[in-house]
């Protein structure tokens, strides 16, 4: 499958400040890729570089095979960007806003009106289409900004803090929209510091700080790399006999075993050994009701990386 984005050793300096420092990543079609990091991590600068708004200081970017620094207009034809601030013309109506941006995106005049109506309807803004945007709630503005980003049906969508400043209900609406786009195969780059949102939506994430990628991969990959050893919680039909405990302790790759009533907690060297370990217990006479590998949330992973724990291993 051909890559949509290829970034190699990308750097961007502002004076002495390294806003983006040696970024390298690829994105495949249909992927939802998260750029995570605190404010000032370099997420927004990365989006600007990828869209040809800023030229890189060094390194290379290819988006759909194009170089954004030299072919920015063609790149922006294929991208839609939801900026952190909705950036809407408040004195104009929703329809006027979309018609304006649709014209700049070079949507043919004969289809523009229909497309605007269609997208207003999709985002449930049709009944307020003629009202000035300044009368809209924050959630409606964010939906309209998202509608603008999708108006010209770009194959690549950038979402910079899509739920920033929204109340929980509006945030939920926007997340549901992003989720539905993702299900339709839309390629999305999501910049956020909302980890719950990223965990729910992203296939892979890059954890950034001070312009550098500290870690990159899927949630499972990162978890595995950070914590190769894993805890397994096992619920048994009855309290384990000594022979079962011995069988557990003697299994290769088992680091630690804790027993309590009808539960066993076992620390294994790696997740890969779980199936054979469970089989071994069953063969040793254990009556297993439930097996539950302890999962790490993105939040655990993020803070482990940001706090520098094991970051050197990633």
């Amino acid at each position: 499958m051909s890559l949509i984005i290829e970034v190699k050793d990308l750097h961007r300096l502002f004076g002495d400040i390294h806003a983006v420092d040696g970024l390298t990543f690829d994105i495949e079609p249909g992927e939802v890729f998260g750029l995570l990091g605190p404010n000032g991590a370099g997420k927004t600068t990365t989006v600007r570089l990828l869209n040809g708004i800023l030229p890189p200081s060094s390194g290379s970017i290819r988006i759909f095979g194009l170089n954004p620094a030299e072919q920015g207009e063609q790149v922006r034809q294929k991208t839609g960007v939801l900026t952190e601030n909705p950036s809407l013309y408040e004195r104009l109506s929703a329809r006027e806003n979309l018609t304006f941006f649709g014209t700049l995106a070079e949507i043919p005049e004969e289809v523009l009106g229909g497309r605007v109506t269609e997208i207003l309807s999709f985002f449930e803004l049709e009944s307020r289409a003629q009202d000035k945007v300044e009368t809209y709630s924050k959630g409606m503005k964010q939906r309209l900004a998202l509608a603008r980003a999708l108006l010209h049906q770009p194959p690549l969508l950038f979402l910079d803090e899509p739920t920033s400043g929204l109340d929980p209900e509006a945030a939920l609406q926007v997340n549901a929209l992003i989720e539905s786009l993702s299900h339709k195969g839309q390629t999305i780059i999501l910049c956020t510091h909302n980890l719950t949102e990223a965990e729910r939506l992203c296939d892979r994430v890059a954890v950034m700080n001070t312009g550098r990628v500290l870690a990159l991969g899927s949630l499972a990959d990162l978890s595995r790399r950070l914590w190769p050893a894993t805890w397994l919680d096992i619920q048994l039909w009855e309290a384990p006999a000594e022979s079962i405990l011995e069988a557990a302790k003697s299994f290769r790759g088992v680091k630690q075993v804790q027993a309590e009533s009808v539960s066993l907690s076992v620390r294994l060297e790696s997740k890969e050994t779980i199936p054979s370990f469970v089989r071994h217990l069953v063969e040793s006479g254990a009556s297993i009701l439930r097996v539950n590998p302890r999962a790490h949330s993105l939040e655990d992973i993020y803070f482990a990386i940001q706090n520098g724990q094991k970051a050197g291993e990633l």
Binding site: R48, Q74, R76, S87, Y89, L92, F100, L104, A105, E106
Partner: protein, 274 residues
């Protein structure tokens, strides 16, 4: 450059400025004062001032008149005292003042378009569109300059009607505009509009708010006042040739300023100010 996009930017900016009362109220008041209030005052004065005061005033005018080209002096030779006063005030002294309008209109709309866009935090979305830097720049130039020229021409049209109508009892014929007003309206006015816009673009890279930009470009009024002082003192007479030459000079300055502005108007420098 994409002309459909240019037109969309210009229309959008014009729609926006129309809704900015701080921008268009002065743009409405000043033409009314210049095109309606001033001519009515200067045409009405000869009816109110005693003849001897008028004669003294005309005596002061003589210094100005004798420095005029001979063919222009003849305009006064064939007029009555009252007619001479009206021609002097409305046809000559007010002429440079009218240049304040294109300057003001273009700098108001320009400030709203270039700086207001940033102030209202709408610039970023505009920069993420496929429109080229040249298209954005041209759209914004047209948004500022075309309405400025049209509004100025509308003010001139109103002034012409008011001057001729109010002075009809004195002249009994349409005598205005005088020949020097043609290059003033159609050569110098567009040049001055562009000057106001180009200055706004340059200033916009150094200021944060619409009001700051508007106030700074307002200082260009000094140039117009210099023309007025030159006209009153007789140092510079705005005749057909001199108006055309001043216009040409302003066009050259415009070209230089636009050249510099184009260099500053690019996504990299614009995004840095958001």
């Amino acid at each position: 450059m994409n002309w459909r996009s240019i037109r969309a930017i210009a229309l959008k900016d014009f729609k926006e400025v129309r809704q900015n009362k701080a921008a268009w109220i002065p743009a409405l008041v000043i033409p009314l004062v210049f095109a309606l209030g001033m001519p009515l005052l200067f045409v009405g004065l000869p009816q109110l001032i005693p003849v001897e005061d008028m004669a003294r005033e005309m005596g002061d005018m003589q210094d100005f008149i004798v420095r005029m080209p001979v063919n222009v002096q003849q305009i006064f030779a064939a007029t009555s005292l009252e007619q001479g006063f009206v021609i002097y005030m409305t046809g000559f002294l007010l002429a440079p003042m009218f240049l304040i309008m294109p300057l003001m209109f273009s700098s108001i709309i320009g400030a709203d378009s270039f700086v207001g866009e940033r102030e209202r935090k709408t610039m970023e979305a505009l920069l993420y569109t496929p429109a080229s830097d040249g298209t954005l720049f041209m759209g914004k130039i047209i948004a500022s300059v075309v309405p400025a020229i049209l509004l100025s021409w509308l003010s001139y049209a109103l002034y012409i009607v008011v001057v001729n109508a109010a002075s009809w009892p004195l002249f009994g014929r349409i005598w205005f505009p005088l020949p020097a007003w043609w290059p003033l309206m159609f050569w110098l006015t567009p040049a001055i509009s562009l000057l106001g816009m180009a200055a706004t673009v340059l200033i916009s890279s150094r200021v944060r708010t619409f009001m700051e930009a508007y106030q700074l470009t307002g200082s260009l009024v000094v140039l117009v006042l210099a023309l007025m002082v030159g006209q009153i003192s007789g140092v510079l007479f705005l005749g057909v040739v001199s108006t055309f030459l001043i216009g040409t000079l302003v066009w050259v300055v415009d070209a230089a300023l636009i050249y510099i502005s184009v260099g500053t108007f690019n996504r990299t420098s614009l995004i840095a100010k958001i």
